[in-house]
């Protein structure tokens, strides 16, 4: 088994600590106080087994972390070790293993609370992912607080998972769904958002970062404005949680959702953060085991938070592994991860801008980790296919944001997205493959 911490001598001229021709890098770098601030992406890559595989006889260049991030061995190992040593169903067991599994599950919740700086552990509800978390709020908050004619305000750049649940609620309860417009740069101008906040707006629900364009929304200002208008706020942090530190108390958002799999954790686990007083006032989302205090056919009383919203056996091992993923990114430092990715984005923007038929889609002043583009005369699917043959994994399509694509007047884009393990050499591989596309289809 790999050590959690070790030092390796690396030849070459890596900038960082060391002298002469060898550099000492730490793994993970942050565990060593001396080396704080030093980001050794090669050592980080060594944590991700999949990054050393080849596809189509080429080294994998994985540029689809916005769809799902790859997993470090620390996460894979955490899930494996949990099943191998600590696994049992939680809550109901009086025996040692069940108690142990329950502790591990609670520990994961603690890790999420710390990540988001939530006030209370029971404000963290485990869900299957961001999608289920939004559906939970739409169903339960919608049931308790939304009536016919009440408005929910989203933005024009939302993922379908932050549109369709509100449409379902509209069909059921007659609420009104509004969307703040997106400008040509792919931004949601604050003044337009504010203009749409009215006396009937009960909830504003929007992404922190656009999964298509990488636009970073001014969520602090948007939250303040929504609160001034008397609305509650849900933040879809699916695309931001892996790239920046989020503090739900200083943001003062009422709900926040994300998926574990985009945070280097497993699939099947996600998080809803909700303010205690709201979660207390909301009815359960699903009924079943674990979410009750007592059941008789006449009357059922619900369990206290967070169990009230976690009916049935949850994804226990996935929660534990999500805890390991949170440990991993916080140990590296979300600030440093964000800075590394910002460097990649700037470099990629520069490299790709030099390819004549290529147009970058989304030119917001603040962007994170995502680069969408189109190439005059070449279909995005054909681009992605050729890139794949060069080992470069990108996504092409509407990225589950068709209203945004319609606004941009594009049926599809190619999207490259960056994670903590990507390198400038991989950006070069992307640019070189795109130059081949140009030759193949346009010359």
């Amino acid at each position: 088994m790999k050590a959690v911490y070790h030092q390796i001598e690396r030849p070459g001229a890596l900038q960082g600590i060391g002298s002469g021709n060898t550099v000492t890098v730490c793994h993970p770098p942050d565990r060593c106080g001396d080396h704080a601030g030093f980001y050794d992406v090669e050592a980080i890559r060594a944590d991700f087994p999949i990054l050393s595989r080849q596809v189509h006889s080429r080294p994998l260049v994985y540029l689809d972390s916005a769809a799902s991030a790859q997993k470090p061995f620390q996460v894979i190992e955490a899930e494996h070790a949990f099943y191998a040593q600590d696994y049992a169903n939680i809550h109901r067991g009086l025996y040692y293993l069940s108690q142990r599994a329950t502790e591990r599950y609670d520990q994961a919740r603690r890790a999420v609370r710390e990540l988001l700086n939530a006030r209370q552990e029971h404000e963290i509800i485990f869900t299957r992912g961001a999608t289920e978390a939004i559906n939970l709020v739409a169903a339960s908050f919608g049931e308790a607080f939304l009536n016919e004619g009440d408005e929910v305000l989203v933005t024009g750049l939302e993922h379908h998972s932050n549109i369709v649940p509100w449409q379902l609620l509209r069909d059921k309860k007659g609420i009104v769904l509004k969307a703040a417009p997106v400008n040509d740069a792919g931004e949601v101008p604050l003044e337009d958002f504010i203009r749409l906040l009215g006396s009937r707006t009960r909830l504003a629900a929007f992404a922190h970062v656009s999964n298509v364009l990488g636009t970073v929304l001014p969520i602090a200002e948007m939250i303040r404005a929504a609160h001034q208008a008397g609305a509650r706020v849900l933040i879809d942090a699916a695309q931001s949680v892996a790239h920046a530190k989020i503090d739900v108390q200083s943001l003062d958002c009422d709900f926040l959702v994300f998926s574990g799999h985009k945070l280097y954790g497993p699939t099947g686990i996600g998080v809803l953060y909700g303010k205690e007083e709201l979660l207390e006032a909301m009815p359960p989302y699903q009924g079943g085991g674990d979410m009750i205090a007592s059941v008789s056919f006449e009357r059922t009383t619900y369990a206290p938070l967070p169990a009230k919203f976690e009916a049935g056996t949850p994804p226990i091992a996935q929660a534990v592994a999500l805890g390991a993923a949170i440990d991993y990114v916080t140990a590296l430092g979300l600030d440093r991860i964000g800075a590394h990715e910002a460097g990649l984005l700037a470099y990629a923007t520069e490299r790709l801008s030099a390819i004549a038929p290529l147009t970058i889609v989304g030119t917001a002043a603040k962007k994170a980790s995502v680069l969408s583009f189109v190439m005059e005369g070449v279909h995005p699917h054909d681009i992605a296919q050729i890139l794949d043959s060069r080992g470069v994994a990108v996504r092409a399509g509407h990225h589950c944001a068709q209203p945004l694509m319609a606004r941009l007047g594009l049926p599809a884009t190619v999207r490259a997205s960056f994670g903590l393990y990507n390198t400038t050499a991989e950006v070069d591989a992307l640019a070189e493959a795109l130059e081949e596309v140009e030759v193949m289809f346009l010359q």
């Binding site: 080429r58 070449v378 995005p380 054909d382 050729i386 092409a396 509407h398 049926p411 193949m440």
Partner: protein, 150 residues
């Protein structure tokens, strides 16, 4: 050479970049339009079928990737002179070729239909099978959609 390049042999690139019969047929007898929901591509197919039940003219239009465009282009060339029944048979064979499975369907293809084998590369890419068959399925819909004669 990696697999993906076989998706774009010369003939496919040629038909993709210089599609044949990419137009609308004025006064066509049969027409249909459809969309590939996974990518937003759309293709319309128009046919002119004469009194003797023979396809005299076939054309397509729309916005699509190279694979879909090349497939549509080849299809319109092969349809001319066929009856609707023969066109459906050709689709069956093409589908077997594109989606994989029925090798005999390819073996039994007439010489002219062999031209379609340039598209067999999609077999390795299940998501692209829909691109390759988009125009064909639209053609089947067009056969069922006779325009009232004006």
């Amino acid at each position: 050479m990696s697999d993906s390049v076989e998706l774009y042999p010369k003939a496919v690139l040629d038909h993709g970049r210089h599609p044949r019969n990419r137009r609308a047929i004025a006064g066509c007898s049969h027409f249909a339009k459809s969309e590939n929901p996974s990518c937003g591509d759309d293709v319309s197919v128009s046919l002119r079928i004469d009194q003797g039940d023979v396809i005299r003219e076939a054309a397509f239009d729309g916005r699509s990737c190279v694979v879909a465009t090349a497939s549509a282009s080849l299809m319109t060339e092969l349809l001319v002179g066929k009856t609707p029944a023969q066109a459906k048979m050709l689709f069956q064979r093409f589908h077997a070729l594109a989606a994989g499975g029925a090798e005999e369907a390819i073996d039994s293809m007439e010489a002219e239909a062999e031209r379609l084998t340039v598209l067999s590369g999609v077999r390795a890419y299940p998501v692209r099978v829909r691109c390759a068959t988009l125009a064909w399925k639209t053609m089947l819909a067009a056969l069922e959609n006779e325009r009232s004669q004006q």
